[in-house]
Amino acid sequence: MTTAALPPLTKKDFQTDQEVRWCPGCGDYAILAAVQAVFPELGIKRENFVVVSGIGCSSRFPYYMNTYGFHTIHGRAPAVATGIKVNHPELEVWVATGDGDALAIGGNHTIHMLRRNVGIKVLLFNNKIYGLTKGQYSPTSEFQKVTKSTPFGSPDRPFNPVSLAIGAEATFVARSVDVFQGHLKETLKAAAAHKGSAFVEILQNCNIFNDGAWFNLTEKEARSEHVIQLEHGKPLIFGKNKDKGIRRKPDGDIEVVALGNGISESDLIVHDAHHPRPSYAFLLSHMEHRPGFPTPLGVFRAWDDLPRYEDVMHEQIQAVIAKKGPGDLSKLLRAGDTWEVK
């Protein structure tokens, strides 16, 4: 949909008259700001954007975007979006969803949309809680979490959204954070540039029901020790003084090493987001579960060589029309054996 001669759009063009109804301090505001900042830069006509959501605080998102918007029902946004995109491939379809909406009730639609590689961008607002229903644990809540519905701690271990998406054959998988505006915008642009399905987990703070869920990643002091930036072609380095890195072990596993005394950047893994196979991205996706390892942010995987579902479907249609010619009503009606009664 990129065309040269567009009147330049601005952030304002994407704001609605609707008063934004999130709790003061909610991380969703920052995500909204980032999206409203990025959309004008994509060179896409405003009328070609469609923002689709399910139900949840995060799913109120479309009301605040001055584009076409569909606030559907709980968990079904990926399926509704698929119908829109398949019917109308020129549209730029984005899904705004939550950890409950996309991974609890909507888990199946999410993984199937990724498997099919429908050209939809999914923003998963992960606050590790059900916000709208006032604080029950979610499929991303940590094991043993005490919530309204689990006063004695949750009995099950969470999904890792990035691992799940990769296991579901996603061709683009990334992670960013509500408060890292610059990083978030870059990540959104990368997602926009991807033709196939793009899955972006955005770590988001629910200051009412799960405040500080991502504290150790966002808080100034801790941050640089607990976060590692994934940049294609760059070595995996982290630490306040950029003094740590991720290195391959001979057995193919990875380890955290301190740079210096013999160990240099050249010993570290150089990030390859375009790797055709998902195993490398999967390995990264699980690292934060190990003691001493940082949480990766950025683009884990961006491999765009797979045809999109909607393209294959419309190519089939075109091929048949090219072969048989466009359908003819009277031929259709009279297909097969017919006879006449005088």
Binding site: N48, Y68, A79, G83, I84, N87, G327
Partner: protein, 619 residues
Amino acid sequence: MSSVTEVPASKLRREVIEQAVIRFAGDSGDGMQITGSQFTNTVALYGNDIATFPDYPAEIRAPAGTEPGVSGYQLNFSSGEIHTPGDAVDVLIAMNPAALKVNMADLKANGILIVNSDSFKETDLRKARLTVNPLEDHSLDKFRVFPVELQRLTRSSLQHLGLDAKAMDRCKNFFALGMCYWLYNRSMDPTVRWIDSKFKSKPLLAEANKLALKAGYSYCEATEAFQVSYEIPPAQLSPGVYRNLSGNQALAMGLVVAAQKAGLKLFLGSYPITPASDILHELSQYKDFGVMTFQAEDEIAAITSAIGASYSGALAMTTTSGPGMALKTEAMGLAIMTELPLVIVDVQRGGPSTGLPTKTEQADLLQALFGRNSEAPIPVLAPATPGDCFWIAVEAARIALKYMVPVIVLSDGYLANGAEPWRIPTLDELPSIPVKYATDPEGFMPYKRDPETLARPWAIPGTPGLEHRIGGLEKQDVTGNINYEPLNHENMVRIRAAKVAAVAQDIPNVLPAGDADGDLLIVSWGSTFGAITQAVKSQREKGRKIGHLHLRHLNPLPNNVGDVLRRYKKVLVPELNMGQLSWILRAKFLVDAIGLNKIQGRPFKQNELELKIEEMLGL
């Protein structure tokens, strides 16, 4: 009434008769459905009126030779007008003991019974849980039995082709078919043509099947097995070009036609389920009409993807059967709230739960009307015959697009698989379906309504200046903004109801068939139309003063239904459920509608209906 004429060429009698019922029965592997539909096609082409009833086993494959494995195909063909596959059978073809055991009860006394005598060995009998051989224990004495060594005869006619035994045996149904063509003096050409195209890539098999077919025919010629053959003249159908059509084919075609007439692309979101899957299969063929078929991960994704397609400007539909219908109900509420056009097809089957997947039933009517949270009205239509599935599909699309509402079509397993001769409409008989998207930003509001239809504008993504948001929360009329105010909610609930009620303005008043007033009115809907029409005809010939009101629109009802009901002393509502339509008529019109309720996974028989009619008339 049959007139006898001597045929000099042979000493065989040829009787001219009006009508006959034939049933092909065999193992699932014996190709009975193909045999039956070939015979059907041939007699239809010849000009007979027909009604068919394919009855195959539940989805899962049963072991060869057992009763659960029996597959049957019944055809009623006639030189007069007919509406049902017939209660009892004149000619039964039984390919094995199980088929005989399951079907012989329906064969008329003195009826013709053709059995494959090669398949009555000890082992075959055991598979059918038979201890004695029915061919020997006189249990068939009241029939005209023709044991034929179908296997041996077929093989001998094919041995020169060098096929293996298994392949040769697979042709024996065509041998039997050939015999039936001789029995009813029918040309083999249409079937030969079909074999040629079907086995284009396998010429040897084509040859084998054609040989078997002809061998069966000449076998009768030569052996004079039957002392008599029959002639059923063409029926006096209303003039036009005809084809033979099943309900699922008709429904699929109807929606393609509707999309073309509306100038829209057709989108189907579906998840396979018996007996609806064939609609998906049919539509996936129509790529040349730009039809998009999306096989979803489940029924919820099927309908919600269709809602997305509708939102973005397609004529969108979803197809399913009972259990899948139950899964779609939450999403239907979304379509109602967002006021988007959508055609929802439920090909009803036996239930509840997984129930009887391959059997027919009419028990989803109340689910269609009320099976959603809160006040969520939807127009509901039901086809009367296989061919009517075409017209109902077109009507459903018309209503959905004109009023911006989801519409439910209730077909059933009997219509879906049953076939009838269908008069092909000329292009100008097809209704025009005008559709316009909103395009003008000037004064655009997503819920600003057309005063006549109460439809909101259809503003599709990609249209400059019409950017707007919709969703499942209650909203203010006109602006479409979220709104929870008490009076607004009541207003919107009443508008959504009024919109569905407004559909009635397009529905012509219904005229009862038969007497315009009298002792008894029979009210029906859906696939029971044929059997009831037949029963009413026969009862009126006996002089009863009765009428028949068949409803194709179930919500809203035609405006004059109340008046019609009051013109008769009594009201009978025969249904293949526990009394769902009668419940509605009672609640709406406070008439004491009596139900005749059959819930056996099978259609009504004409005489079940006639008995009830006579009972109600106190005869």
